[in-house]
């Protein structure tokens, strides 16, 4: 009974099954598979059964149930959950239990969703393979030797392996879309500001956005319609009314103009991925779309731009983890504190505690990014790196503005390759960063984008088709994605 979001909600609403039965089924799948896949860091067994009993009681009283009635939704462990630990994939938050819920978690509860647990992720969402998690990598269920993508790899695998029909992730530079592509699931990064970030542990605040994974496009649309909308606790959350995302699924694509950017079919693109994506574009054309070439000339600078801006923001955001208000604290050996070779001035006991805590609590990738971000913001380098990258970000945005003057959506690969092997890129941080080249531009421009599965490779590895829409035009993206999905199922 591995059903999709819409089917489960309908059956629970009509009383054809109970929320408790659905919760028990999800827990059974998690128990059977998580030992091998490592997708969940925390299983909230008692909590989810209690939620299920409350939903069943509500129905028994004759009350109407919400749009996600009894639908199990896994939560990336960067989302705060009251009373359930939230690690963000880091040792520094290993035992931290938030005293409040993220706004998206509150909205899922109000929609009568079931929340069975928290999923594994790259530490502080910094990574593209899940290998930077302090709690070991997630395995890709399509091939256990391969990475599930990152950073929301645990959420992608929860859906791909049929543990839950939907999940939430967060996407800063591709952290929902790339794992969706690697695992054969649907993943949505909404317009920046569409969804409240309150209660999402911050990585790069001008880029972070929460979005859904699901087994199908319509399920993702329903979850997004529940979590979208303004929130007085997040000043960057837009007041724009939510469109009917679910209604947009199944609408006709006839006459929609789709742009194909040649810069996304460049050197480094796997030939099988290219063939699969081009076949999907040909199918959309056969279904009535008008295909046009567009140019996004600054695409190739997106990796450099992103790794300056995101690390700068991260270096500031992660300053809060200092062993004082929450998380790990390490008291250093007083004799060693601050009196290293070179006779640096003696640090206060407070600063020695900060340094020892952060050294012990953060993993290698997080330290690398904090230091890089500190460097690009430091006196003498700010203009050359940080300010320069902000200007290039403007050029990347203008590329999209010009393209969307001619087309309704842009269609391209989500990632340049199918899922790579675990361990393949860990010794070379730069090659890992380059695997995000096709997802970063939409992030920098704040645009909505979806990854939807297209034809797999000969070896059976999933490939993702990425559809990017203008700001707040998620509906167009859902229309195209559901048309493509429909054509693969007919």
């Amino acid at each position: 009974m591995n059903e999709d979001v819409i089917a489960i909600a309908g059956r629970v609403q009509r009383g054809e099954t109970t929320a408790v039965a659905v919760a028990e089924h999800a827990l059974g799948r998690i128990d059977a598979m998580n030992g091998e896949l490592n997708a969940f860091l925390t299983v909230a067994r008692e909590e989810v059964l209690e939620q299920a009993r409350a939903i069943d009681a509500k129905r028994a009283r004759g009350e109407a149930l919400g749009p996600l009635a009894g639908v199990p939704i896994a939560l990336k462990d960067a989302l705060c959950t009251r009373g359930v630990r939230t690690t963000c994939g880091s040792k520094i938050l290993e035992h931290w239990v938030p005293p409040y819920d993220a706004t998206v978690v509150t909205k899922l509860r109000q929609a009568d969703a079931l929340l069975p647990g928290k999923t594994n992720m790259d530490e502080f969402a910094m990574g593209s393979s899940n290998e930077s998690s302090a709690f070991g990598p997630v395995k890709n269920p399509r091939d256990l030797a391969r990475a599930p993508g990152g950073s929301s790899g645990g959420s992608a695998v929860a859906v791909a392996a049929g543990m839950t029909p939907a999940a939430l992730g967060s996407d800063t530079g591709g952290s929902i879309r790339q794992p969706a592509s690697f695992t054969g699931t649907v993943g949505v990064k909404p317009t920046y500001g569409r969804v409240s970030r309150f209660g999402l542990v911050a990585f790069a605040s001008s880029l972070d956005q929460i979005g859904p994974f699901a087994t199908d496009v319509r399920g993702a649309a329903r979850v997004l319609s529940v979590i979208a909308g303004k929130d007085e606790r997040d000043m960057t959350c837009l007041a724009a009314p939510a469109d009917d995302f679910e209604g947009a699924c199944g609408a006709s694509v006839k006459g929609l103009r789709i742009g194909v950017p040649e810069e996304y079919f460049a050197k480094g693109l796997d030939p099988e991925v290219e063939a699969s994506v081009r076949a999907a574009i040909a199918r959309l054309e056969a279904d009535g779309c008008i295909v046009k070439k567009v140019h996004l000339a600054h695409t190739r600078h997106a990796v450099a731009t992103y790794y300056v801006l995101a690390t700068a923001e991260a270096s500031s955001n992660l300053a809060r983890f200092d062993g004082v208000r929450y998380g790990l604290r390490v008291e250093p050996d007083r004799r060693a504190a601050g009196s290293g070779v070179g006779a640096a001035p003696t640090k206060s006991a407070l600063r020695a505690m900060y340094g020892a805590t952060r050294d012990a609590g953060f993993g290698a990738e997080v330290k690398r990014r904090i230091l890089l971000g500190t460097f690009v913001l430091s006196a003498g380098y700010y203009d050359a790196y940080y300010l320069k990258a902000q200007k290039v970000r403007t050029l990347i945005r203008r590329d999209f503005d010009a393209a969307f003057g001619e087309v309704d959506a842009i269609v391209c690969p989500t990632a340049p390759t199918p899922a790579f092997l675990l361990g393949e890129k860990t010794s070379d941080p730069l090659s890992m960063y380059l695997s995000d080249v096709y997802t970063l531009p939409a992030s920098l421009a704040g645009l909505p984008a979806i990854s939807v599965p297209c034809a797999p490779t000969a070896a059976g590895l999933p490939v993702g088709l990425q559809i990017i829409a203008p700001a707040l035009r998620e509906a167009t993206m859902f229309t195209l994605a559901s048309a493509w999905e429909g054509s693969t199922r007919s």
Binding site: P99, H298, R358, F375, L430
Partner: protein, 100 residues
């Protein structure tokens, strides 16, 4: 370009990270390589291009056409706020000495 060790140590001080010597050497090489890569940005003509700090216009949360009313709402209790602290004393966050 490699970041030299003095530069790397200065960044570590600014970022409040106590690093081991092996870690310092490794990070100087790795970060140097990334900095060399991002230096490609220098080649792009950005004359008269304004910087983008943020894609959304950030405005204070409003209701209707005015400021929202300043209404007191329940927040975290004192105990809840301190519950995650590694050390709490005298009803506050406890820190090691910082005045020499």
């Amino acid at each position: 370009m490699d970041l030299d060790l003095d530069q790397l140590r200065h960044m570590a001080v600014l970022a409040e990270l106590s690093l081991g010597e092996d870690e310092e050497r490794r990070l100087a090489v790795e970060i140097g390589r990334i900095v060399a890569y991002v230096a490609e940005l220098e080649m792009i003509d950005t004359t008269n291009i304004p910087p983008t700090a943020h894609v959304a216009g950030i405005e204070p949360v409003r209701s209707g056409d005015g400021w929202r009313d300043d209404v007191a709402k329940p927040g975290l209790s004192h105990d809840e706020a301190l519950a995650g602290a590694p050390r709490a004393e005298h009803e506050g966050f406890a820190v090691p000495g910082f005045i020499e």
